[in-house]
Amino acid sequence: MSHSIMIRTFADEVKSIPGGEHLELCYSCGTCVSKCMIQQKVEPDYNPRRLLRLAIMDLKDEAFKSPTTWMCSECDLCYQACPQEIHISQVIAAVKKLAVEAGYTSPLTPVSVDEELCSGCGICVMVCPYEAPSLYEKEHNGDLDRLSEVDANKCMRCGTCVGACPLGAIAREGVSNTEITSQFGYVIPHNPLLVAFVCDWSLREDADVSLLESYPEDQVKIVHIPCTGRIDPQHALMALDSGINGVLVCGCKPGECHFKRGNHVAKCKISLLDAMLKQMQLNDKNIRLVQIGTQERGRIKYEVDDMLSTLKAPKEAIA
């Protein structure tokens, strides 16, 4: 006898893709919607519960057009919280796969690669959590050049590749190298005590964001980044070099990164930077990484105050 499922409806199609099996277990409790931060921070129409419902009800076109299909970054916070143990990101991925096959494309603007600068080294391919970049060969002045190209349907715009590219060949709108450095250092006449690179996802609650923004400009300058994976050690060094006393990098707790593993990349970068500063006999306390968990409301204030008080203390010599 045969145990295979007969595919008759869109819901069947979703269920037949690995990860989509448990689609119909959803009883619409809304846990996923409030555990996820996309609706609160970016897209009011983002709603995983409703996408699952669209799939269950065979509303295929609506599902393909839904921002939820395209904006889920598979952080899986919802999966851990789901009382029905539905692997929601995988269900969404299954819908997305069918949408791409049906010719729909992502509404997100992907990162862009400058072909003139790209050397085809492949570091972006290694760091990307989504397998969006790949290398291809292109004829250029009679030679075959290896270049990186980015799959627009896979790129989630975390900027980890931007921070990793040794040649600065990749750009993401809003957080290109110049856009970041122009916010501090050489450009602003009065340097603040502290520059904070803040991952937009690490501060769940609006109260914490406004709290951070309430520091005076001469004390704390905030640079918003999409993920701590985007940080570039050079930016930190430039900040220190331009007379800023400290650099704080604020990201998500391990396991809670909005872009799967950008926070892990950041942690590696910061510990390398620490080691480098130590070798140069500079004070590595002036660069800090804090990783904030979803329940750690108010922690950011404690961290910033603590750092400010360290920085305000009689300075040790910074060469």
Partner: protein
């Protein structure tokens, strides 16, 4: 409560546990352990002078540890019976209590646990339920955030007999909370913890909300829920009333609670499903409405009483629809939440129902039990043939119902025999038979089931109490499995004689399933163990014969595991499907002489030759009749 104490025919034995239950309907022997209170029940007048002078304070478990009690204590002032106990784990032996008790001389430090045996006709099990511990759900912060409390803590904080005399305060600063959130389904309807619905919590949280609102109408109360279930009379109306009183209901399961460290106020994050919008609200206090779970000692009680458990651990009734009060054991009945979460009206109703079921027996002079018992052919017993009984039957009996006196043949004490059939299958001389499950009957059944294309068939031997029930549940749940299964029922896996299995393979059966209950669920105490030993032995024999793996399968399937029954059968079908017909036929033919060798003594069993003769005829008739039909 008080009525029970006042009723002269009720003998209340508090602080007492059931250690052992033996016997059968109408004739149970129950061993009770009366735990030492170190206070003489007949002398204590409940004055409480001992507690007044006791210098030791420990958390009172009855008050959810929200209040202290003394080492000399009663759990609450209205305790029934009102007899104090000395908690020796806490006591420092200052003996002030002895002094305070004075001439009553009720305190006795030398008292020890007392073991009491009682003759009982019928038993009502009403062991109740316990509460899920929400501290394992990190997202709600119970145990870390002081103002997140459980529903039972709320009961005590809001109770005029409780530690705060009914003045609801929040633990962090003892202020009266103004904004309170209740979260339903904490741990329940959650596949990570308790997949089932806890039945009463919807009404329970509405009740608490209404009480708080009645006490103080300015309190702002929000109930977070997934579904509100109001399935009984008057419940929906009560829910209406709660909404009219201004209690807020938000459909949406909170995913997270965060706390402001300075104020200890709480922020509940959820989706408002009706709006489709994520909301974050601030509260002074959050109550988690915990799931109901089986008692921590439910597994232990299940083996003491020898009754099975449903998925989730609750006691399992004989039939979910038609015999919801009866346990599978005659004379043992369930009442209340031990059988599944229940509210107070249903528990009271079940208590009455159980009393009525039990009194059918208790008010009868005599009771009839099924005659499915073992009987001995004394002339076949080794005591007769060789002068000495081998005693295997005695070893196989879980009830001590088989006795061998001197050089006489084994004898069955019918009143003690529960009819598992273990001695029947174990007897090497085939000197014991089981009424209604004789070798002749079972052999004819097997031959009939394997009359037509035996190589396609899967013969499934199932015990009456568990695996047969599991097969029923597979059907009731419409879990589809292969129609090549041919089931046969015996009372216990202990009865599944090796000869039946050899015979099945001799006839050319495709596969054989040997299936009984899980060891702890056996209806006959240790019957399954006897069956399991035999199954393992058979498995080894077939391995040595190089039988294809999976053609003989041993599985323990409870009456609650319909899905497992279907899965096992489908997997066995897959094993057969993977073999080519030639390969299977070749194997059947190769093993046939082996089986015949092992069956040499089988025709010696009384009734078997007749059954063989009869079934040869029957098989012909079956094949012919199928052609015509």
């Amino acid at each position: 409560m008080v009525d029970a104490a006042r009723q002269p025919r009720i003998d209340v034995r508090a602080f007492t546990e059931v250690e052992k239950v033996e016997g059968f309907v109408g004739n149970f022997k129950v061993t009770l352990r009366e735990k030492a209170k170190h206070v003489l029940a007949d002398r204590c007048n409940g004055c409480g002078d001992c507690a007044k002078v006791c210098p030791i304070e420990v958390p009172n478990h009855y008050e959810l540890n929200l209040a202290p009690r003394k080492a000399a204590y009663v759990p609450m002032s209205q305790s029934v019976p009102l007899i104090y106990s000395i908690d020796l784990d806490a006591c420092i032996h200052c003996y002030k209590c002895v002094e305070a008790c004075g001439s009553l001389e009720a305190i006795d430090f030398s008292q020890e646990d007392k073991i009491v045996e009682e003759d009982i006709g019928a038993i009502v099990v009403a062991t109740g339920f316990s509460h899920f511990d929400p501290s394992v759900m990190e997202e709600y912060g119970y145990g870390r955030f002081p103002n997140v409390i459980t529903s039972m803590e709320m009961e005590r904080l809001n109770n005029s007999a409780g530690p705060t005399m009914g003045n609801l305060i929040r633990p962090s600063d003892r202020r009266n909370p103004q904004r309170i959130a209740f979260i339903n389904c904490v741990g329940s309807r959650d596949k990570r913890y308790i997949p089932s619905c806890s039945n009463f919590c919807c009404m329970y949280s509405i009740k608490n909300a209404v009480l708080l609102k009645q006490m103080n109408p300015s309190v702002d109360i929000t109930i977070y829920y997934m579904d509100i279930r109001t399935p009984s009379k008057g419940y929906e109306e009560f829910y209406d009333r709660a909404r009219e009183m201004g209690i807020h209901f938000i459909q949406g399961r909170p995913s997270l609670i965060t706390e402001d460290e300075a104020t200890h106020n709480l922020f509940v994050h959820s989706e408002d499903i009706t709006l489709g919008r994520v909301i974050e609200n601030e509260y002074d206090m959050v109550m988690l409405n915990q799931a109901a779970i089986p008692q921590p000692d439910q597994n232990h009680m299940s083996s003491v009483l020898n009754v099975a458990q449903s998925p989730g651990g609750w006691f399992m009734e004989y039939h979910p629809k038609l015999r919801p009060i009866d346990s599978p054991t005659d004379g043992i009945f369930f009442a209340g939440a031990c059988q599944g979460p229940k509210d107070i009206p249903s528990s009271v109703a079940q208590g009455s129902a159980a009393a009525s079921r039990a009194s059918r027996i208790l008010l009868s002079e005599r009771w009839e039990i099924e005659p499915i018992v073992a009987v001995v052919w004394p002339e076949r017993c080794t005591a007769t043939t060789k002068g000495r009984a081998c005693g295997l039957c005695v070893k196989a009996c879980p009830y001590g119902a088989v006795v061998i006196e001197g050089d006489k043949a084994a004898e069955i004490i019918t009143a003690k025999c529960h009819g598992c059939g273990g001695c029947v299958a174990e007897c090497p001389e085939d000197a014991i038979s089981q009424l209604h499950y004789t070798d002749a009957q079972l052999l004819s059944q097997i031959r009939a089931l394997l009359a037509d294309k035996p190589e396609e068939k899967i013969l499934a031997l199932r015990c009456h109490w568990c695996s047969y029930g599991g097969a029923d549940l597979a059907g009731t749940s419409h879990f589809e499995y292969t129609a090549n299964e041919r089931g046969i029922k015996v009372m216990c896996s202990a009865r599944m004689d090796s000869d039946f299995i050899y015979e099945a393979y001799r006839l050319g059966a495709g596969a054989v399933l040997f299936s009984g209950c899980h060891p702890q669920d056996c209806h006959y105490i240790t019957g399954q163990i006897i069956g399991a030993k035999r199954a393992v032995r058979l498995k080894k024999i077939f391995e040595r014969m190089e039988m294809t793996e999976g053609r003989f399968r041993v599985e323990w399937i409870s009456a609650a595991e319909g899905d497992k029954y279907a899965r096992v059968l489908n997997e066995m079908q897959d094993v057969l499907d993977k073999m080519s017909p030639e390969q299977l036929q070749e194997e059947i033919a190769r093993l046939k002489p082996e089986m015949e060798k092992r069956l040499k003594r089988f025709p010696g069993v009384p009734g078997v030759p007749e059954a063989m003769l009869y079934s040869d005829n029957l098989v012909d008739a079956i094949l012919k009749s199928k052609e015509i039909a």
